[in-house]
Symmetry: C2
Subunit: 215 residues, 2 copies
Amino acid sequence: MKDTSVISRSVISRLPRYYRFLGELMKQGVNRISSKDLAGMMGLTASQIRQDLNCFGGFGQQGYGYNVPALRDRLAEILGLDKTYTAVLIGAGNLGRAVAGHMSFDDRGFRLIGIFDVDPLYKGIKIRGLPILQDSMLPEFCAASAPDMAVLCVPSEAAPAVVEQLIGCGIRNFWNFSHYDIKRDHPDVNVENVHLNDSLMMLSYTIKNRQDEAK
Amino acid sequence: MKDTSVISRSVISRLPRYYRFLGELMKQGVNRISSKDLAGMMGLTASQIRQDLNCFGGFGQQGYGYNVPALRDRLAEILGLDKTYTAVLIGAGNLGRAVAGHMSFDDRGFRLIGIFDVDPLYKGIKIRGLPILQDSMLPEFCAASAPDMAVLCVPSEAAPAVVEQLIGCGIRNFWNFSHYDIKRDHPDVNVENVHLNDSLMMLSYTIKNRQDEAK
């Protein structure tokens, strides 16, 4: 079993997908699965699955396959889903509200503890039981609660100042939905970007190339 | 220049990012850039950039660098952003409303022509000028307007039936925000998935590993 700190990002980036498929299997009451069958489900090769999962120790047994709940628990542990991280969300528009609804899975992972917006119109409104607070209250809130991460759902123009403020409040981890490139200005912080436009452009590419093929 | 149909998915998947960074440069009034400087901005190596962009023809000139607007226009063409595709969006909750606000870039790409929801409570409400229509009107709407793709913002439980209906209406391209694995049941359709949970799990992993390092 390799030291998890040296495992490549491309292997790591496939783990959530394994975790998701194993969850599906558990829902269907499947307790063990061969690498071949798992590969078929996931559109991968059995050998790639064995290689990926071998990075984290020997889960599978020859002729038996993988123990689904055990493998899923181990992946949860590797992904840090056995911990609970606290999060603040900045930007309570449609995107922020949608994202607030996606902050937990199976009661694991992240717990939203504060929602902030610059717009005073939101005062008094609650999302998932949390009142929307004014941006100006962030420093005090962070000093008291020390959240582990921030979710950034503000427009790109507003993002640099908000990130600056959050870093000043001690936050080092960001889930970034804005187009602002946090890493360029703050190379030391930890950022996971969700670029909806990039995904839409990929779709545009595949539509175009399917149509070209069909000509 | 390679036939674009044989270029690997990993190269293609980097193109939206190039397109985004080149747009930033144009906003800053930068008209040409060396592969070295572009690499520095994007956290890549100059050689990777040259390799990627060579797949699509010789954009750069030795000692001159890349012509930013020309390269960006060419990427737009490759990505199909010079076409306009029409889209229907299914599911008008917070996520659907947020996504509706992300459907166009620089007036290129996609045009939302219909929004549908199963909930009769939404009747009469408009999003970005479009009335929310009842799901039952989908077949008639698609027969009249033949949308190029559907955006799926419905809960996972509802997704299989909605996808079945949309495929019956002639739709073959999906931007999928639900957790439903469309490809497994419909291998012939074109799907771009946005898995917010996967992204959040990656963040969980990196937070955990940074904390482990700091111990």
